[in-house]
């Protein structure tokens, strides 16, 4: 997990301020020219605060505004007001398109890529074990210190371990270190570049970059415009939502606040999780091991993209079942045909899932908790003071516990035990790098007979890049809320049809 996850930095502040500004302008039906003022509203000093120049600071905010509206990244090679591009975008389809996660190239500080360096802790000792353990003879003892020949070095780390003075460090690009699928490369100027053929849009690099040079696109503006147009917008909210808006804001208050914002209804995505866990238990009971060697879960889009892009041989064994998001959205649309559905969650890659041909008619918008918190501020909704009476009881204990690592497999296992008397071996991949390793193991046949859970974010969905709470804290709220559920098992849920149980 990135070291920056859960720490509130100026990068987080600027990102959220941009979201709040976009929401503010959407809500007041502002003219396009208003967008030109955002960089000046957010960077309102006379001298630079964060970077080498105030003009660069504002240009980066402008790039964030474009991405925040869902527009593509653009190189600054042509004289153009921010509002000109925005006007064209809004006049056309104003649809967010791939790539979802983008490097704001001129914000990238070109960190050196993975390398071992000798720091000035080196005492040029007589033993110099570093050079002795080096398997490629890359270390020489020069006049003042040991020196690593970067051409020869294979980054094995043996010298670092051998040094008695902690003098050797392994320097990694934070974005690349956070990427579990090695999708970060360098462009011609040595800036980070995302290889879209490898990227699974998990969003961890967004959190990891200490210069705030990576951002994803958002649908804040599109969602709020839809509400403003008077459309029948209904929300489905992912199980990690509890606690994300502060310790005094109960799940019920979050639901009431969403209604105050203009949503006609709010359902728990955990309802879809109950549906999905039953469906996947049925698939497992029917197909494993006769028709299919093992079953991978379906709910994490980055996990399924990792299979598609990196280990395509296993693709067919990742469940074809729809994700909880899709099931929850379908249940809303069955009851309300002309409605628009917004998925609210911790997840960046759900934005991409919602754009796919299979899902685009079910889920209209995806926003993160962080984006929603900014929307509440822009709409001047004070969550601690909202009246909430309505109880929410859409899902079972195991459906609500989906948001924690291990929760998905456990929910499916409980269904298998109770309904089919099967207790399968379980393999859990926690974090994207683990996901990739697990997929490779699955391909090798090591996981035959297993129920395989993949979660691209460490800790599960509560570790998602769109959360406000530190991961373990979010996990505690999820467990507590699951304990309050009216049902234990998915098949006890009154809100599911008989045929689905």
């Amino acid at each position: 997990m990135s070291k920056l996850k859960g720490i509130y930095t100026d990068i987080v502040k600027i990102r959220r301020m941009v979201f709040a500004e976009l929401a503010r302008l959407a809500l007041k039906d502002a003219e396009c020219e208003e967008f030109d003022k955002i960089p000046y509203r957010i960077i309102d000093t006379e001298e630079a605060t964060y970077r080498s120049s105030i003009f660069k600071e504002r240009a980066i905010v402008a790039a964030r505004v474009r991405l925040g509206l869902g527009m593509d990244y653009e190189t600054n090679q042509e004289h153009k007001l921010l509002s000109e591009g925005i006007r064209n975008f809004l006049k056309n389809d104003n649809q967010l398109k791939e790539p979802l996660v983008n490097v704001i190239r001129f914000a990238c500080e070109k960190c050196p890529t993975n390398a071992h360096f000798v720091t000035n802790n080196c005492r040029k000792c007589l033993a110099h074990p570093c050079s002795i353990v080096c398997p490629v003879d890359a270390i020489t003892i020069e006049e003042h210190a040991a020196v690593i020949d970067q051409e020869k070095c294979i980054n094995c780390g043996k010298c670092k371990k051998a040094c008695p003075y902690e003098a050797i460090v392994n320097y990694e690009r934070p974005c690349a270190a956070a990427c579990g699928v090695d999708a970060i490369e360098s462009d011609d100027y040595d800036r980070a570049k995302i290889n879209q053929d490898k990227c699974v849009s998990c969003g961890q690099c967004i959190i990891a970059c200490p210069f705030g040079a990576i951002a994803d696109k958002s649908m804040i503006f599109q969602l709020l415009k839809s509400i403003k147009r008077g459309e029948d917008v209904r929300a489905i909210i992912a199980p990690s939502f509890v606690g994300q808006f502060g310790p005094l804001v109960s799940a019920e208050k979050i639901v009431a606040s969403l209604k105050e914002l203009g949503m006609k209804e709010v359902r728990e995505v955990s309802l879809g999780a109950d549906f999905a866990s039953l469906h996947e238990a049925e698939l497992f009971a029917e197909d494993i091991p006769e028709k299919q060697p093992y079953l991978g879960t379906s709910c994490c889009p980055s996990w399924t993209y990792a299979a598609d892009k990196h280990v395509p041989e296993v693709k067919d064994n990742i469940s074809e079942s729809s994700s909880p998001m899709i099931f929850a959205a379908q249940s809303v649309k069955e009851d309300n045909q002309d409605s628009k559905v917004v998925f609210i969650g911790p997840c960046v890659s759900k934005k991409l899932e919602a754009l796919s041909d299979r899902v685009k008619d079910e889920v209209d918008y995806v926003i993160t908790f962080e984006e929603l918190a900014a929307i509440f501020v822009a709409a001047d909704i004070e969550l601690t003071k909202v009246d909430a009476e309505e109880e929410i009881r859409d899902a079972s204990y195991y459906g609500r516990a989906y948001a924690n690592a291990g929760g998905v497999a456990e929910a499916i296992r409980q269904n298998l035990k109770e309904k089919y008397e099967i207790d399968p071996p379980i393999t859990k991949a926690d974090g994207l790098a683990e996901c990739k390793k697990t997929l490779i193991k699955a391909k090798a046949g090591v996981l035959d007979g297993h129920l395989v859970e993949g979660m691209a974010c460490e800790g599960g969905c509560v570790g998602g890049p769109g959360t406000l709470l530190e991961t373990t804290r979010g996990a505690k709220y999820v467990t507590k809320f699951a304990d309050e559920s009216p049902y234990k098992f998915a098949f006890e849920n009154d809100k599911l049809n008989k045929k689905d149980k």
Partner: protein
Amino acid sequence: MVKVEICVGSHCSLVGALNILETLEKLQEEYPEQIQIERVECMDMCENIKKAPVVKVGAELITSAQTQMVISKVMERIK
């Protein structure tokens, strides 16, 4: 004993109050007898986010609070 009131309203939560709270709670585990934390509703002192997050350490009001600032004020008082 130092009492810390931390606003956890919409504005303050967006700009870091939850992170300050988390660090404070960890500090409280080390000094359970000396720190009292009160999570409070919006105190209307953030002037529409400009001065958020708002934290009170004892009688001292801190606006645009940052974690390191709050923690050091608390430590001053318990030492």
